[in-house]
Assembly symmetry: C2
Homo-oligomer: 358 residues x 2
């Protein structure tokens, strides 16, 4: 290998550290509650679609715009296909949005704390990122519009991650109605929430709602997402996306999953029940548990959060810890199966004893 | 739907027309020789891998860096895994490269005619695209380095598309050795060629070779590609890619395909034979046939090229026509099965009669 390497990268790319996703430990005897995956398998209709799939078709390029999926999903919400774009996971759509609406002179805005990918996307695009601190209880501050004013693109995760709370619709609507650029309502967790904002697209031509099949549809491994927006926004985003950004298998299997509403509703219901159970049990153990409308809990352990995180990791139980100032007292725990919750609780009892003694 | 739409896009995005991929006609009784797909199905090992795949795993995120695939493919060429990055099709890798190495002050260079996506990628990035005209016989001009001098990224398809010829290794090596920025050797068609340049990565720290599973591996619908480069380049590209850009199924099935070298060699051999057959027959019918080291032919019909293209389309035979000055006398025809070639030739005989008479 030639050792005369000099940097060819744009300097900001060279300097940055890149986004750090949650760990993907090698399969084995681990309990994985760190990346908000569903603890349940995807719909059996997904396996059926795989079995019935004519593998020979893979020699052909996929439909470039996921025509079948867009027709069906748009009808579910009273939209039309030209309101929809599909992506290779939400990351793909968020990248497309960043590239369409931000650059060195068009800043990105997002809340802090929120999904840590947003500032990374801005950095990769060479765009300034305006971080707007949430209030003490992780709500939207009064002067949000003033703070976001210079931005052309505003990423809002709702419900928010890693905090788990949902912002009130009225507060979001006020932003959509008054912000001068594009508002992205990232609804990755909306299926676990009491309300969502998918209808706001009808009213606000600057509003994009993104949805993913990685959480509530148990298809993180498949990479599939969609966004809903004004047809003019979709048209422009279509120019930016890779021609064939969504594979043939992703299109087929996502459609099979979409159609199985019964299985979907059942999975979501079970996760909500498990969320309630986990919240109650952790509260009993002395954790401060924030209200969650997602498939995870954001909690303050009665011991040092980093120590608790590391002690669980030693026991092959993976949760998430964010070392930043606003989040360093908390850990984020994905809602797992009842068995996973039991194992977590049992380990937690042990760890609390150990850490209190030492 | 709200009608008060104003444009929010970066002005260059708003103004541009976007990349136009070849048509994907609805399946049915069509002969599709327009997007250089393989006429043969993927390896039977791909179906086997699908059958054996544990669908429940789709609830989890995929390995973010395709660890298994990178280990195996790197060994095939005497590289190591840190020389490899995988992509959601070559488009994904070309987009990553464009974003890493070009911007408003770092132009892109490419040949003309060449893969028409390169100028589009530059445009999407707000980067100037320096188009370097190939010589009369579609070869690299003497003063290429002088012409490319201001660029930081040089996309070279080799063999070239849509012209089908391979540039001499010495000419490419001279560019790799002397160009001051990154040279991307896009080897989408290299499996059909007599030589390739994958070894040049060892010698030149500024050289990236990209490969796709869309052509010779019959997996266009799967979206899978990889690039080979200096570990420092791979490291930087990893920052730019979406965290989970390659799905779990793409990783599994690509690996199954990679391992079936016998089927792969057999498919490539059959395509080369069919290419020879098609070239001979078209020459007999009065076409000028350029030498091809790809899975397509670039040919001048003995009648108006656009008329020929349209007449075939009426008969549900799709080929590709590029209306630009350098290419408007030609059509590009993907090498199909023997049956597809027969049907094309029969239709061609009829069309030549019609067009000569009218």
């Amino acid at each position: 290998m030639n050792n005369n390497y000099v940097s060819y990268f744009r300097p900001d790319i060279e300097a940055m550290s890149g986004y750090a996703p949650g760990e993907q430990p090698k399969a084995g005897k681990v309990i994985k509650l760190n990346t908000n995956e569903s603890p349940f398998p995807p719909s059996p209709m997904v396996r059926k679609a795989l079995d019935e799939f004519n593998t020979d078709l893979l020699r052909l390029y996929p439909n470039p715009v996921s025509a079948d999926f867009r027709a069906e999903v748009s009808a579910m919400y009273g939209y039309t296909a030209d309101n929809i774009i599909t992506g290779n996971g939400s990351d793909d759509l968020l990248t497309i949005l960043t590239r369409c609406f931000s650059d060195a002179s068009h800043p990105v805005a997002c809340f802090d704390p929120s999904y840590s990918l947003y500032p990374t996307l801005a950095e990769l695009q060479g765009a300034e990122c305006i971080k707007i601190p949430l209030t003490e209880d992780f709500d939207i501050p009064e002067n949000v519009l003033e703070q976001a004013e210079r931005a052309n693109l505003f990423f809002i995760a709702c419900p928010n991650a890693p905090t788990g709370n949902r912002f009130a619709r009225e507060k979001l609507e006020k932003i959509c109605a008054n912000f001068k650029g594009i508002v992205v309502l990232d609804e990755a967790y909306a299926d676990f929430a009491e309300q969502n904002c998918i209808d706001m697209v009808r009213k606000y031509a600057n509003t994009v709602v993104t949805r993913t099949f990685s959480k509530s549809r148990s298809l993180a491994g498949l990479r599939f997402s969609y966004a809903v927006a004004h047809p003019k926004l979709i048209e422009g985003m279509m120019k930016m996306k890779d021609s064939y950004n969504v594979s043939m298998l992703a299109q087929k299997l996502a459609l099979a999953s979409l159609r199985d509403m019964e299985y979907f509703n059942d999975s979501v219901e079970k996760i909500k029940q498990n969320r309630k159970l986990l919240a109650e049990k952790l509260a009993e153990l002395g954790f401060t548990v924030l209200p969650s409308e997602t498939n995870f809990l954001f909690v303050i352990p009665p011991v040092n959060a980093a120590d608790y995180f590391n002690a669980l990791k030693k026991r092959n139980i993976f949760i998430r810890y964010f070392a930043m100032e606003r989040t360093c007292r908390y850990v984020r725990i994905t809602v797992g199966t009842q068995e996973e919750i039991e194992a977590l609780l049992q380990a937690t009892v042990e760890i609390l004893k150990e850490l209190s003694v030492s």
